[in-house]
């Protein structure tokens, strides 16, 4: 028995040693930063590691600022950010890997087709509570929001709410899909979700007269969108570069599109 335990200890030790990038030939890269970008990069990293078993991609959260600092300090190979770089973050190169665009959606039977950013803010703040104030029939608005901590909610709050809190009358659902189900079933509902997940059962509103299409997002004309960035230092090793190429390549971009983001290249309008 004791001998057996020894052997498994040794095996574990060897395994750990290999994980540290020893002579086993395993390369490890670390990506750190925005928790909004995190789930997407984690997903990409899994796919990348499946195709390249000799590479380990280590993805960590911590927020945009912490991630960029880690890259500047050399603690991370790549950073993730959901905001533009500050002037103090010089020497870094930001690469947009996709756009996180948010569609404000209603039931297909809703007569309202366009709202201004201010109207949307008033609705979600609970200041406007009836569709008649927005050009629709007399009917109370059912506001559908996301849970605290959701990246989509965070983006919506930053892009639309301008510091106003979301009304406590809002229904709260815990996924894009659940918001879609509620809006698809309720003619009085208005909600928001990732643009890539809008389907025929709901209708996306134009915001400030601009319809949400991938083209409008990429042209910067649709305002409820923010770029997701991967940030690299001036000197980037070959392995992080290969990962970046994978993310920007057709496979990486179509994976991001499947997850509801607007890809920056090559996969066409959605």
């Amino acid at each position: 028995m004791p001998g057996c335990r020894w052997r498994s200890c040794l095996a574990l030790f060897l395994l750990l040693a290999a994980g540290c990038g020893g002579p086993g030939g395993l390369e490890t890269i670390t990506v750190a930063g925005s928790t909004s970008v995190l789930p997407y990069v984690e997903y990409l990293a899994e796919e990348y590691m499946a195709a390249n078993p000799q590479v380990r991609v280590n993805v960590q959260g911590g927020g945009s600022t912490a991630g960029l600092q880690a890259v500047m300090a050399g603690a991370a190979d790549l950073g993730m950010a959901s905001r533009p770089l500050h002037p103090t973050e010089a020497g870094l190169t930001a690469i947009t890997i996709a756009w996180d665009a948010i569609a404000v959606v209603v039931h297909p039977s809703n007569e309202v087709v366009s709202l201004s950013g201010e109207q949307i803010r008033a609705v979600f703040a609970g200041l406007v509570r009836d569709w008649s104030e927005l050009g629709g029939p007399h009917r109370p608005v059912t506001v559908v929001s996301r849970e605290e901590g959701s990246g989509t909610r965070e983006a919506f709050t930053a892009l639309v709410m301008g510091g106003l809190p979301t009304t406590d009358r809002a229904l709260v659902q815990d996924s894009n899909g659940a918001v879609r189900e509620v809006v698809a079933a309720d003619p009085a509902a208005v909600g928001y979700l990732s643009l890539g997940l809008v389907d025929g059962r709901i209708r996306a509103l134009a915001v400030d007269g601009e319809r949400p299409t991938a083209r409008a997002v990429l042209a910067g004309e649709y305002r409820l969108a923010r770029p997701f960035l991967l940030v690299r230092p001036a000197e980037t090793g070959p392995v992080p570069r290969e990962f970046l190429d994978f993310v920007l390549g057709p496979r990486g971009q179509s994976l991001l599109a499947e997850e509801g983001l607007v890809p920056v290249a090559g996969t066409g309008d959605r």
Partner: protein, 276 residues
């Protein structure tokens, strides 16, 4: 024997470890916020550092009361019917059918509620459909088998001398049920109701799906509602730091509520007629 004792102790150990873990994670935030502010506070906005679960407590109370309002009369009636009224060939089919209700996973209850009750309430009664009423109906059916089968068993346990004596004295069957059998079975019936209450307080998935989870405290059965359990399940995905602690703190309060319900239950069950 030693192995059996160990198995039994492991249950206790699991309970103690869970309690310690929840308290260790949640208590610091409660103490930091102040228990009164945490429990009575009406604003829950983790983004702004506001952690008040007053509205969520109210939500849990509404939903549980609604579930009992539906589940208790139905459960009692079913048990009395099965035990005292049902013609002999019927009971052997009905009892397992009622008990089968308990075998349906809660997510199925939630889903059925979502696709049937919510639209029905929205079109016929108004409001968004996601409501206290939808939760109460779903939960009422969910706690039905617990209440019915515990009540059934305690009615069966009443000595037949009581039944026969009452009938021999000239009491009608209905009088026998309401004046003799139910009072005699009272501790067991109460235990069943308390078990059902515990289930209603703790149920998460089904409630999450039909409650709407709005943060405002409901003022009518047609208003959406968020419960303590729903709050934890809804926000645990991305909660970090203080927010995560606050969810554990919500768990602490839920734990205390369920614990005190059980203590009250035990006291009630051991009450006057339970002392025999």
């Amino acid at each position: 024997m030693a192995a059996l004792r160990l198995a039994a102790l492991s249950t206790l150990l699991a309970l103690v470890l869970i309690a310690i873990f929840i308290l260790a994670e949640g208590l610091p935030l409660i103490l930091h916020e102040g228990p009164a502010r945490f429990i009575l506070g009406r604003r829950w906005a983790p983004g702004d550092g506001d952690y008040g679960i007053g509205n969520l407590l109210a939500g849990t109370a509404w939903v549980t009361a609604g579930a009992l309002l539906i589940g208790v009369p139905l459960g009692l009636s079913i048990a009395v019917f099965l035990c005292e009224v049902a013609p002999p060939p019927l009971a052997p089919f009905l009892k397992p059918a009622v008990e089968l209700l308990a075998a349906i996973p809660s997510v199925v209850y939630g889903f059925v509620g979502l696709v049937t009750l919510v639209p029905l309430i929205r079109t016929h009664l108004g409001g968004p459909g996601f409501s206290v009423l939808a939760c109460s109906l779903v939960l009422g059916v969910m706690i039905l088998p617990t209440i019915a089968s515990v009540t059934y068993d305690s009615l069966r346990a009443v000595p037949s001398a009581y039944r026969e004596g009452s009938l021999a004295l000239g009491a009608a069957r209905w009088q026998t049920i309401t004046r003799v059998l139910i009072p005699a079975a009272r501790p067991g019936i109460l235990a069943g109701i308390i078990l059902g209450t515990g289930r209603a307080l703790g149920e998460t998935m089904a409630v999450l799906m039909v409650a709407g989870n709005a943060l405002r405290a409901p003022t009518s059965p047609l208003d959406p509602v968020r419960t303590l359990t729903g709050n934890i399940a809804l926000e645990m995905g991305y909660a970090a730091g203080e927010h995560r602690q606050a969810l554990f703190a919500t768990g602490v309060v839920l734990f205390l509520v369920i614990f005190s319900v059980n203590v009250v239950a035990r006291a009630l069950v051991r009450g006057p007629s339970g002392a025999r």
